[in-house]
Symmetry: C2
């Protein structure tokens, strides 16, 4: 029999006490999922009230003297293993967060963002920024306050980054983008001047039947995954993945009825997130290190599945019969043509639909805007103009309206400022994992056509990443595989290789 | 401008403090809804853990010294109005409950019942009582304990009844059934010997298309209701209604693909529950008296809509085009024939599908079994045999298997023992409301064919019942309309009239 990962009695007692917090997280995650899927429209205000109080109870549970005593007792233990140390590290991190923020602030933040979510939805639907503006104004003010409560060494934005990615700094993100930006723009230029470059692809305009596409989603998940009793998929305007409890991870996707690659990619992307949480070692269930808390690691998993598997020629070949069943017109296209459609590179307006090359420029724009907002260098009312200016500058295009511009992402309405950079850094990390995995298992392309091959990938990811949950920071996890520091090098090499082939550069 | 219903400052402070409990109830209701609709199968254990902790937090919030102090301060206030008095009455009732039950007991009860729910489901699917037996054994033991913790004057079952219906006693329920039983059996006998009596109706065996029936459900709700932004419908094996928060009430229905009256009746039944909660006066939102807590009043609303509106010839006439659209074969049946199908009386196995006459015998059987269980006069292992014996005795039929017998209802798996009697008493109360409403507005049958007529009914129910939420016990609410004591007389008169016509007795 294997020894349990958590051995120390003081840590076990701490985890037992943590179950109250775990339970509050459980119901909050459920309430968030529901708010984005099934909640009736008029439930918004009450949901905001409830989530505000639940956030307060969470804070109270962290600040409870008996919990703090258990945490102190655990800290004084000797020779803890890596899991036990991680339990302490993550609980201390949360405790510090809850000690820094006043209860009134926490309740207000949750209430304001719960309500803002619905004003954002309405503003987006009507493409009218002014409906969302006062809510965003409030959120930005609260976020500035949050940064000062949380504290930082160099830049207030550091405090926000750290919330999503432990220890990540503004300087590191700036450094990362400074290496990535020029080569990406150069690659984009090369692609745009290739003979194979096209502004339009017929499949982008193909209308699809939503019911059939839903069946394809289910088929796709049944192909990718090995157990549908702990995973489900629903519909949400902005797809996401969430782990609600043990054996209960949920993804969402969307169906616009057009350009089916978007729905397809969303599903596989979110599946990559889900798999990370689902493959945590079972000894870590109900502990603070179950599932992933590093958003960079998380995104490295979603982008891994989305780009290396979902968009690979070999997987499309394997799924071809199901694709044709979904939409009979697809029989007029070869798998190679569908593969090309899935991998079109061109400047576009919507981040979540962007190709792998321009994607990072979308993230860079948000990073620059957020930094300026937190630095008081731009006002909320001027955001639509700033947004459009940056899109013109980096991508050469201008959104025709706010819905496709400043209002496109859900994040700010949820108070998630400091989150976007992890999308790009996570993608860069996915390319590093790819290189390691391929050194050990051979090319991913040779594995994606069969259940057995997919299982090899899942097992590799489990062994090197998933089983640990949040035991390690992304830097520490990477160092377990290699002494090479994190960089965008693997991402750039991968993109250059891939698109040199596709566009015959 | 109208004066607010809650005026007293001490009561307002108490309600503000109650918001934490309100929020815990909100997330618990959501978790329960989710468990019965969308939760992945393997989420059961984690959900049980979380709900156990949330129940403990609810208890802690009630027992919190500052909350008890606010409640005491509120109690010492003079000249409180009926709403303010009700806030105190209901909070004291809950406080008494939480003071009586030890925290360990509460957590265990929630955890055991959350897990039992899934063993019940499996047992029902496989028609195998032994899968559920150990869980039920545990639940019965815990329930006996609960009765002794809660205390009672005459019978331990009184303590259980009181949880669902304030102050209801075993003696009262016995008295009620003793008046009802013989006349019902006599009426049933008369119907069964009528020329029009049939054991089978062709429509019972008509297969329907589930997608079309779902459309009919939506149509039906759109016909009945005036605002679909605060109400939604989903699918659950055992239909229920729940109010999760302000502006967020949900019902569920089911689709077996056969005998569409079952799905149709479930939907209208649950709508009746939902309407009660939705029509509470808005000043009572977020207070303990929002929505209905008396199950007898609640059931009087669901049965009102199910029986007096949904099963009326006039409403079926109005809905006839939609019914035919749902299932084209229905054009071969007149509205009168469909009305007859909706109102067939015959002994049957499943309570929720029983006709209005035999329904009460189903409830009586459960009441007698529960009483015996709590009295230690029967053991859990002997329940299937006892069940079958009583069905033979009261209804002359024997379930062919446990799935259609002892395992049919969800209640015991949820630890709801003492709940069933409210189904019958609530139905009797619905007949009393009918008589009052008709005295004031004329026959219901003349109102159900138009939106305006339905609105008159909704407004009447709001004025006399819904607006108060849980302000009054069912006895007090009834006394506002009449000095006549509660009895089954109106129910018996209504049933005799209705079926004398339908079966030409």
């Amino acid at each position: 029999m294997q020894q349990a990962l958590i051995q120390n009695a003081a840590i076990k007692k701490l985890i037992e006490s943590y179950k109250t917090i775990w339970s509050l997280n459980h119901v909050s995650a459920l309430a968030f999922w529901d708010m984005n899927t099934y909640m009736p429209l008029e439930g918004a205000k009450g949901r905001g009230e409830a989530l505000g109080k639940i956030a307060l109870l969470t804070q109270q549970a962290f600040l409870d003297k008996s919990f703090i005593d258990l945490l102190s007792a655990a800290k004084s233990q000797h020779s803890l293993n890596e899991y036990e140390q991680a339990v302490i590290r993550l609980l201390q991190r949360s405790l510090k967060f809850y000690q820094a923020l006043p209860p009134d602030f926490i309740e207000e933040f949750v209430r304001v963002t719960s309500e803002a979510h619905f004003s954002w939805k309405a503003a987006k639907e009507q493409s009218n920024f002014s409906l969302f503006e006062p809510h965003l104004q409030k959120i930005v003010e609260l976020t500035r306050k949050k940064a000062s409560y949380l504290g930082y060494k160099e830049h207030p934005y550091d405090a926000l980054l750290d919330e999503y990615e432990e220890e990540l700094t503004t300087k590191e993100v700036e450094q990362y983008f400074s290496e990535l930006k020029e080569p990406l723009i150069a690659l984009l230029k090369k692609i745009r001047s290739s003979r194979n470059y096209k502004e339009e692809h017929a499949l982008e305009n193909l209308d699809y039947n939503v019911e059939n596409m839903k069946r394809l989603t289910n088929q796709l998940l049944a192909t990718l995954h090995y157990n549908m009793d702990h995973l489900r998929v629903d519909v949400a305007p902005h797809p996401f993945s969430t782990t609600i409890g043990v054996g209960d991870t949920r993804i969402t996707t969307r169906y616009e009825g057009k350009d089916f690659a978007r729905s397809y990619s969303s599903t596989i992307h979110e599946y990559g997130h889900a798999l990370y949480d689902l493959q945590t070692h079972e000894d870590l269930y109900y502990t603070p290190i179950s599932g992933g808390s590093s958003l960079i690691i998380h995104e490295s998993q979603s982008r891994f599945w989305e780009n290396f598997i979902g968009k690979s020629l070999e997987f499309i070949h394997a799924l071809y019969p199901e694709l044709v069943q979904m939409q009979p017109e697809l029989k007029n296209y070869t798998p190679e043509q569908i593969h090309h459609y899935f991998n079109i590179v061109k400047p576009s307006l919507i981040r979540t639909e962007a190709d792998e090359v321009t994607y990072h420029l979308h993230v860079l724009i948000r990073f620059e805007i957020e930094k300026a907002l937190i630095d008081n260098k731009v006002e909320v009312k001027d955001l639509p103009a700033l947004w459009n200016k940056k899109y013109k500058e980096y991508l050469g295009i201008t959104p025709p309206n706010d819905s496709e511009g400043i209002l496109q992402d859900v994040h700010w309405s949820q108070g998630s400022i400091g989150y976007f950079p992890t999308y790009s850094l996570g993608t860069a990390l996915s390319a590093i994992w790819k290189s390691h995995l391929e050194k050990e298992l051979g090319p991913i392309s040779a594995l994606v056509s069969s259940k057995a091959g997919l299982k090899q990938i899942q097992d590799w990811l489990k062994e090197h990443i998933h089983q640990y949950g949040s035991t390690h920071t992304f830097g520490d996890l990477l160092r377990k595989k290699s002494s090479e520091p994190f960089s965008s090098k693997y991402l750039l090499d991968y993109l250059t290789d891939k698109y040199t082939t596709i566009y015959s550069l």
